[in-house]
């Protein structure tokens, strides 16, 4: 229960942090510690060096920037959950942040940490993918923007390079799009067995003219349920139709299996939660 010994740095500038990343062996960034510290305590991760981002100023903010909202990577779930700006302009993020873990986890865990960790059952990655957000990474060669669809590479793997720091997340202001995030939570810790994020727009006739569905907990990484989106897009969303379309939610996905759900059950749940999340978004 005590991590293997490591060197700890707590830089006060981004540049300093980047220097540590490129000059040390086996470095890990520490944000809220809600994923990294448990792994270290179980000695499943034994980094030689820890670079703590918490003393670097200005990585923690939520701001409007034209038609977008930008969030510093060290913004906590709690800050997202309670942000009036996000509630008004991008409610999917507060909706998602509100159901992560428990209060302690939400006070401590950050959006940057959650995305970089790329947990296949993470809630925030599903929302970020659904919003087609973009992530800013800063590395030794300067900065680059990574689109959400390119960001989640595989099981616990993001597109970030080991010497890069995720600094900002950029999401569109939604101006009236309807959103919902629902999950079938595991007992106790509350991780998603299946989680579905939905962002949609309906036109005057009630047809769906804009739709994104992000799914977590089902594959080895979060994914967009494109097959479902395709069926529903441009159509009126009546209950039967949604149910039919939702059956396609695992099309082309290698569904995972663990103690919280067999392949069969997870696939079924993914369908159920797709229906529920689409309906919840329509009523939002």
């Amino acid at each position: 229960m005590i991590p293997a010994s490591f060197e700890y740095y707590s830089p006060t500038t981004l540049k300093e942090a980047l220097d540590f990343l490129s000059s040390r062996e086996d470095v890990k960034i520490l944000a809220g510690g809600q994923s990294l510290v448990p792994l270290m305590k179980l000695r499943l991760a034994k980094p030689r060096t820890i670079v703590d981002l918490s003393r670097i100023p200005d990585l923690n903010y939520i701001r409007e920037q034209g038609s977008r909202i930008v969030l510093g990577s060290m913004t906590t779930y709690e800050q997202i959950e309670t942000s009036a700006l996000l509630q008004a302009k991008c409610p999917l993020l507060p909706q998602t942040a509100a159901v992560v873990g428990d209060v302690q986890v939400r006070n401590q865990g950050t959006i940057g940490g959650s995305l970089a960790h790329a947990d296949p059952a993470g809630d925030m990655p599903a929302a970020i993918l659904t919003l087609a957000a973009e992530m800013k990474a800063i590395g030794p060669n300067g900065e680059r923007w990574i689109r959400a669809e390119d960001f989640f590479v595989g099981l616990l793997t993001s597109a970030l390079e080991p010497d890069e720091i995720l600094t900002e997340v950029r999401v569109p202001a939604l101006n009236g799009a309807k959103t919902a995030y629902l999950k079938a939570a595991q007992r106790a810790a509350g991780f998603a067995v299946v989680g579905v994020a939905v962002c949609l727009r309906l036109d005057q006739n009630g047809s769906c003219n804009n739709l994104a569905i992000g799914v977590t907990g089902v594959g080895d990484k979060v994914y967009r349920a494109e097959a479902v989106e395709k069926i529903l897009l441009g159509k009126r969303l009546d209950a039967n139709f949604i149910e039919q379309a939702a059956r396609e939610v695992t099309r082309g996905v290698d569904v995972i299996e663990d103690i919280n759900g067999s392949k069969e059950y997870r696939s079924h749940l993914a369908g159920v939660y797709t229906v529920r999340a689409v309906k919840a978004a329509m009523q939002a």
Partner: protein, 804 residues
């Protein structure tokens, strides 16, 4: 006792504030000078031969003091004596504190190490190199019993380590007379109680006096005391038990291995050594309840009367022989539950597998026994097209039959089971709920109502297992003994020394209430001496935070000691006041002669005399104001020791409760929502309602969580997949329904104050209540619930299979 000012009332918990504000003193809070920190090397394999252990590299880093390997454990310690828990073992198999030659479950302790800091110890642990020869893992009892299965214990020649049976009444005749035989196959899974505080211990050895002192959060001092003496060959052993962060049975048995290992490290290093288990260690190796399978047959009449019951049980006891039969033998405690059935046959098979050993956990085999009865009652109702309430009612023991002798020799002290059931139905609004259920079913909602009833035995009889194992060489004793000492200090305050440790059940409060009423003081002025110290405490074999012993033995002992002390106080006061002791009354720590306002004396004044003023003492008066009393159950006969028929009082008092669960099943996901949970209980005369309710809430919450999914899962290689609380799936407060409790006490005619047990009760029927409610919810689909846990996926599968 004339009046009860405190007994029966909720007074604020005396220890609650200490625990809730972080002022408790737990084992891990203690630090001794020069103390080292220990860690345990555990098997990563479910089944393997240990070929070689090389500790050399681990001995080198600075700060590492001592490493003990299997070789040293074998050389420097003795195996434990196969005690009561290993009853039934065909052949003596030496069991040491660590694995010798072979590992038989993931997490089995192999070596131990002590270093200056815990961090250094954990680092060094990685340097011990162990060469294993992995063997095929045996994880399934059916597989394990195949003749070709790999053997866990070669000496036994089979993984079926024990098989035996018992027979009460005339079972064959019952089945001949039956109108119908109802059969069912039932299963309960592995779980635990996951106490907040895992195992912890500190060992300190004084080489000069050869005295070993351990601080340990053990529930039963005797287990530790005997283990240390047996394994280390020591005479002088002192067991100190500070505050305990939850026991539930987890801290009775396997903890002894670790106390021995840590003591060995202390002896070898010449330093005090502390060890605190971490959560994953606790999950993999601290003990699980037993997965049990039952083939059940009930011989019934068309009116629902159960003439006879037969069941064959297969217990998956895990990778040790030291708790072989406990889940089977505990069936004797509630063998006939609340029912009048006279003819019962039971057969047990204990199968060793490459999983964590089983241990006593909240009720041990009793939740399983209640599950058998209550599942069968529902099944009988279905097959005979009767209401489940009717079938239960017709079989209940009636109040006028009390005290009632069960076919296996238990004597139910008191109780009105029909009234409990009736009141539960009334209070839940059963008929209205049934109507609502019918209406809602038409809307497609799956509502279910489960009604069950169960006894909760209390107070252990050490002789029980002789009914099953008459050949037991060493008598395990009989009945139970525990003591208490009470003392008025020189300044008039009262100190109480309990004979057993306390796992957080407010023993300090409850015992103070009893002593306060007898002595005529405010419970505020009574302080309980903590921690438990085997050198000081008046403890006997029943000094166990287990077996639902407290209400019987500890309350009995405190009552006896306080009554004795009262006599002493009155004798001294009568002499000093020149009054007759019959004229004296005690109130708020002042002895007063009735009718003579000036004739009074306080405890403080009496204390001064009793401890210092010989001239004022009556002739022949033993100085001091202290009394000790060792309690044995005065109504232990008949059936205290089993005769040739195997009749035995497995336990001595019988609480009971009717439980009603109202659930809704999400028909899309299989998730079960508990809408209401009601208990109408008989816990005898209640000493402190809030304390008793606390026990009921906790044990009901546990039983419900067990039924709905908490549990251990192994894969086919014997790897445990539920190593953390995240995976184990215990219900949090968020998922736990409000537990509604109503008391309908039938005081025990046998106990000191009419009290009965309360610690395990609600955990015994609650798994059955949930199973019953879920089955009722799924009735439109024709689903039968035979197995726990009812996780969302399990319920979904039941629905899928029914639709197919």
């Amino acid at each position: 006792m004339a009046e009860t000012k405190y007994i029966g009332k909720t007074i604020p918990s005396k220890e609650g504030a200490r625990h809730a504000t972080g002022r408790g003193l737990y084992t891990d809070d203690f630090t001794l000078p020069g103390m080292l920190h220990a860690v345990i090397l555990r098997s990563p394999h479910a089944h393997a031969r240990i070929l070689k252990v090389d500790p050399q590299a681990a001995r080198e880093p600075p700060g590492v003091f001592t490493v003990v390997t299997p070789e040293e454990i074998e050389k420097k310690t003795h195996p434990f004596k196969p005690g009561r828990y290993a009853a039934g073992l065909k052949k003596a198999i030496p069991e040491y504190a660590g694995a010798i030659g072979k590992v038989r479950y993931v997490g089995e302790p192999v070596a131990a190490l002590a270093a200056r800091t815990r961090g250094a110890a954990e680092d060094a642990l990685e340097l011990i190199s162990v060469e294993y020869e992995p063997l095929p893992a045996v994880v399934d009892t059916a597989e394990a019993m195949r003749p070709t299965a790999p053997l866990l214990f070669e000496e036994l020649g089979s993984n079926l380590a024990w098989k035996g049976s018992l027979h009460y009444g005339d079972v064959a005749a019952a089945f001949n007379q039956a109108d119908k035989v109802v059969r069912e196959h039932l299963k309960i899974h592995r779980y635990s109680s996951t106490p907040l505080e895992p195992f912890a211990c500190i060992a300190s050895f004084d080489a000069a006096s050869k005295k070993l002192t351990v601080w340990v959060n053990a529930q039963v001092p005797e287990v530790i005391y005997d283990a240390l003496r047996e394994a280390l060959g020591l005479e002088d052993v002192r067991v100190i038990i500070p505050d305990i962060g939850g026991g539930f049975g987890q801290k009775i048995h396997l903890i002894r291995k670790y106390v021995v290992l840590i003591s060995l490290l202390a002896i070898e290093s010449g330093r005090p050594v502390k060890w605190t288990e971490d959560r994953s260690e606790h999950m993999m190796a601290a003990g699980h309840s037993c997965a049990q399978e039952f083939d059940v047959e009930a011989a019934v009449k068309n009116d629902g009367t159960v003439l006879g019951l037969k069941f064959k049980e297969i217990d998956d006891v895990g990778g040790s022989i030291s708790t072989l039969t406990i889940h089977f033998t505990n069936k004797l405690n509630n063998l006939s539950n609340t029912y009048r059935t006279k003819n019962i046959f039971l057969e047990g098979c204990s199968v060793v597998t490459n999983k964590c050993p089983v241990i006593p956990n909240r009720g041990i085999g009793k939740p399983g026994m209640c599950f058998i009865w209550e599942r069968m009652m529902d099944r009988i109702a279905q097959e005979l097209d009767l209401s489940p309430i009717e079938v239960r009612s017709i079989n209940l023991v009636q109040p006028e039959e009390m005290p009632y002798t069960t076919p296996s020799g238990n004597i139910y002290d008191s109780g009105d089971y029909p009234a409990l059931l009736k009141r539960a139905l009334e209070k839940i609004g059963y008929e209205k709920l049934k109507a609502e259920q019918r209406r809602e079913r038409e809307q497609g909602r799956l509502l279910g109502i489960g009604v069950v009833i169960g006894v909760e035995p209390g107070g252990r009889n050490a002789a029980r297992d002789m009914a099953i194992f008459p050949e037991m060489k060493e008598s395990p004793g009989s009945g139970g003994v525990n003591g208490a000492t009470i003392k008025i200090e020189k300044n008039g305050t009262v100190t109480l020394f309990l004979g057993s440790p306390n796992c957080g059940q407010s023993h300090e409060t409850t015992t103070a209430q009893v002593a306060a009423d007898i002595l005529g003081v405010d419970p505020e002025h009574i302080s309980t001496s903590t921690p438990f110290d085997s050198d000081l405490a008046p403890w006997g074999v029943a000094a166990a935070n287990s077996g639902n012993n407290f209400h019987l033995y500890d309350i009995g002992a405190v009552h006896g000691a306080a009554s004795r002390l009262r006599e002493k106080i009155l004798t001294l006061a009568a002499h000093v006041l020149n009054a007759k002791s019959e004229e004296l009354a005690i109130n708020a720590g002042v002895v007063q002669a009735t009718g003579s306002p000036l004739k009074k004396i306080s405890f403080a004044e009496l204390g001064k005399i009793a401890y210092g003023n010989q001239a004022l003492m009556p002739k022949g008066f033993e100085a001091g104001l202290q009394a000790t009393f060792y309690y044995t159950f005065p109504h232990g006969e008949p059936n205290l020791v089993p005769g040739p028929e195997g009749l035995v009082r497995a336990q001595f008092t019988f609480s009971a409760g009717a439980h009603v669960a109202v659930v809704e099943v999400d028909k899309e996901t299989g998730k079960v929502h508990v809408l209401r949970y009601l208990i109408v209980g008989d816990n005898g005369a209640v000493i402190n309602p809030q304390v008793v309710n606390g026990q009921i809430y906790g044990s009901a919450a546990h039983g419900i969580s067990v039924a709905l999914g908490e549990g251990f899962v192994y894969n086919s290689d014997g790897q445990l997949l539920t190593l953390t609380l995240t995976d184990y799936g215990k219900s949090s407060t968020m998922e736990t329904p409000r537990i509604e409790v109503e008391h309908r006490p039938s005081p025990s005619p046998f106990t000191t104050l009419g009290q009965k047990a309360a610690g395990e009760g609600a955990a015994i029927p609650s798994p059955a209540a949930i199973a019953s409610a879920v089955e009722d919810a799924l009735r439109p689909l024709g689903v039968r619930v035979r197995e726990l846990p009812l996780s969302p996926e399990a319920v979904w599968k039941l629905m899928q299979e029914a639709v197919r």
